[in-house]
């Protein structure tokens, strides 16, 4: 039997787990290659004590999550963070900016005791070291299958470190800045085939800041097109509150 795989969801919308079920054409093949040991979304059963590969979706928002992740790191030979929440903190980490207690009271009212053990939301990658990442909101199924096959083959994998612009140009998309619209492709990690931009929607930065992005040059591009730095940072914050992003 193949590698023993567990799938874990922390604070998330389950969208990336849904994407795992969306590999219909390959689902049965993948299931033949691995020993799917635990997946609450799809099967009854308990989390086993031993496994080889852990897929982790979601942001870390409770003490329980932190404890679970430490145990996962000790147990699994390979940890894969899937999706923006796990990789960069994503949308749930927006709640970590400003006054968390104030947000809690705004939603639940004062003097209640729900959502116990909550912590400031952060990415999985901020709590433990992970071996592979599959960025995106949601993940791209093709990219996930590529990473999984490299994991099973014992190979390393490094996602693209370049920003989106090059990929976008090869697809002959008209640049949003030319139309007077803000687009975060200029600072965002490529590898998604510039899908949103190709469908007429500017990049919102879900894959995280590209390590090779030239942020200084990006600031100039934003400013030249009438977007003040505060506005640009606000847009970049959407998926990247976990990192110190400066322009």
């Amino acid at each position: 039997m193949g590698a023993r795989v567990v799938v874990l969801g922390l604070a998330s919308d389950f969208g990336c787990q849904v994407q795992l079920t969306n590999i219909e054409d390959h689902l049965l093949d993948v299931l033949g290659l691995i020993d799917l040991s635990y997946w609450q979304l799809a099967s009854s059963g308990h989390m086993p004590d031993e496994y080889d590969v852990a897929l982790v979706e979601g942001a870390v928002t409770t003490d329980e999550h932190v404890e679970l992740l430490r145990k996962v790191r000790e147990t699994a030979a390979v940890v894969i963070a899937i999706g923006s929440c796990a990789v960069t903190g994503g949308i749930p980490a927006l709640a970590g900016t400003g006054d968390l207690e104030g947000r809690y009271e705004a939603v639940y009212g004062e003097g209640t005791d729900v959502a116990r053990g909550r912590t400031r939301p952060v990415a999985v990658t901020s709590v433990i070291e992970v071996d592979y990442i599959v960025p995106g909101c949601p993940i791209d199924t093709g990219e996930f299958l590529k990473v999984l096959s490299r994991v099973l083959g014992g190979l390393s994998d490094k996602p693209s470190e370049q920003p989106m612009c090059f990929a976008c140009k090869t697809r002959e998309n008209v640049c949003f800045f030319e139309k007077g619209e803000m687009c975060l492709g200029v600072v965002t990690r490529s590898g998604c085939h510039a899908r949103c931009i190709s469908l007429g929607r500017p990049c919102t930065g879900c894959r995280g800041i590209a390590p090779e992005a030239n942020l200084g040059a990006a600031r100039d591009v934003f400013e030249q097109h009438g977007f003040e730095t505060a506005r640009s940072l606000h847009a970049m914050n959407l998926y990247n509150t976990n990192e110190e992003v400066a322009l």
Partner: protein, 420 residues
């Protein structure tokens, strides 16, 4: 005897725990504790731009994301006084049905069916009943393909924005898809057939049933809210007046009441409210399945989802024919930013979903509110559990707990939605 629990109930979206206190063969207390962590969506939209709300709130739920995106868009359009084209309205209905096909297929085959054949998951069926698994994946893929065709991808649609769509599918591809929908009609009828063979408990819920209802269509994208028992009809814009939310200590999700009682939303209430509007094939399927409208049996929610699949295929093929003939544009209409507030609702696969927002003169969000289907259902689910548990408490422990899980799964709960 210690408390019996089912921790992190499997085959539902999100994390929840059933706790039962049984003493001398009597059920003393029972609850559904939602442990799914809070992500504070109503708070995090505040301070963001109006056009970011659909993108952010779509991330409440990756399984019914088209509904969150569209409900948010509708609420924002109400706040800003934006009218969209007829073509956009039809295209949006297709996007909702993409979500229905994908969600109902996943719930029925992957989540619900294993209970009825005594399996922990659908995966063992790959060996024993490959044709059933293949059918499940075909229907699910049909939903994903429709969502992708209209929205750009299966989860978190890209193209749907305030005012319209940023991109439209090629008419030839649309035409081909209508053909595929007609070809797969048999898969959908067989799904109703499969669920007809599963025996469900004779049970009656005590709550009311709410759904959108419209005179000219099976209401999934627009209409007023009707109460099947209460007999009333109210506009969506009044939802915060007729739904009362309360915060509980045992659950990160709030509970909801109407008219001082619990209520249910979802496929069963929709069919009960609008069975006259179903397609002829869906009406036939419902009759053949032996489910009457109005049924009060919560367990019939599964069957009603299957009937909605039959309905969806015929209806979507019709919408595509309409789009191919009607002309017009879905390109986003221009939005004049102004201060305002507005509410919107759609029927998500699990029931009526409400969003509302207030924006300031610069289009910055100053308040947001979301009530999801599962948040509305939880109080009714607990009420059902209290009535149902004593009827099955005599079963061996595992079977007893499994029966309770089956009731939970009949609601097709989405706990990440419920907490959000």
């Amino acid at each position: 005897m210690p408390l019996l629990t089912v921790e992190h109930v499997a085959r539902i979206e999100g994390h929840g725990t059933i706790t039962v206190d049984v003493h001398d063969g009597e059920v003393r207390d029972i609850s559904m504790d939602v442990v799914e962590p809070a992500r504070f969506f109503e708070s995090i939209v505040v301070g963001r731009r109006f056009d970011e709300a659909p993108l952010i709130t779509s991330r409440i739920c990756g399984i019914c994301s088209p509904n969150h995106a569209l409900t948010s868009i509708k609420a924002m359009e109400a706040a800003l006084g934006v009218d969209v084209s007829e073509r956009t309205r039809v295209m949006r209905k297709l996007l909702v049905y993409g979500s229905y096909l994908q969600n109902h297929a996943t719930h029925l085959y992957l989540f619900a069916a294993p209970d009825f054949v005594g399996l922990p998951s659908v995966f063992p069926l790959v060996e024993t009943h490959p044709e059933v698994v293949e059918r499940a994946l075909r229907i699910k893929k049909l939903g994903n393909d429709l969502t992708t065709l209209v929205g750009g991808r299966p989860v978190h649609p890209i193209t749907a924005v305030v005012g319209g769509f940023t991109s439209e599918p090629d008419p030839h591809v649309l035409e081909g898809f209508a053909e595929t929908l007609r070809e797969l009609a048999e898969d959908l009828t067989e799904t109703v057939g499969l669920f007809s063979t599963f025996e469900v408990p004779d049970f009656s819920t005590s709550g009311d049933m709410l759904a959108l209802s419209s005179e000219d269509d099976y209401a999934i994208y627009e209409g007023d809210v009707v109460a099947v028992d209460g007999g009333w009809r109210k506009p969506v814009s009044a939802y915060r007046d007729f739904i009362r939310e309360q915060v509980l200590t045992h659950s990160n999700a709030k509970h909801s009441m109407v008219d001082g009682r619990t209520f249910m939303v979802g496929a069963l209430p929709r069919v009960n409210a609008s069975s006259d509007s179903l397609t002829q094939q869906a009406k036939d399927a419902l009759r053949n399945a032996g489910v009457s409208a109005v049924s009060r049996n919560t367990f019939h929610n599964n069957m009603c989802q299957a009937v909605e699949l039959v309905d969806a295929a015929g209806r979507c093929a019709g919408y595509i024919d309409q789009l191919l003939e009607m002309g017009g544009s879905t390109a986003p209409v221009s939005v004049a930013v102004r201060a305002g507030e507005g509410a919107g609702a759609t029927e998500a696969p699990r029931g009526t979903l409400y969003h509302s927002y207030r924006v300031d003169d610069d289009g910055i969000i100053t308040a947001g509110d979301v009530i999801t289907p599962t948040a509305q259902n939880l109080a009714n689910l607990e009420a059902d559990m209290r009535v149902f548990a004593p009827t099955v408490v005599g079963l061996p422990r595992d079977e007893f707990l499994l029966s309770l899980e089956q009731l939970v799964r009949a609601y097709d709960p989405c706990l990440s939605c419920a907490v959000h």
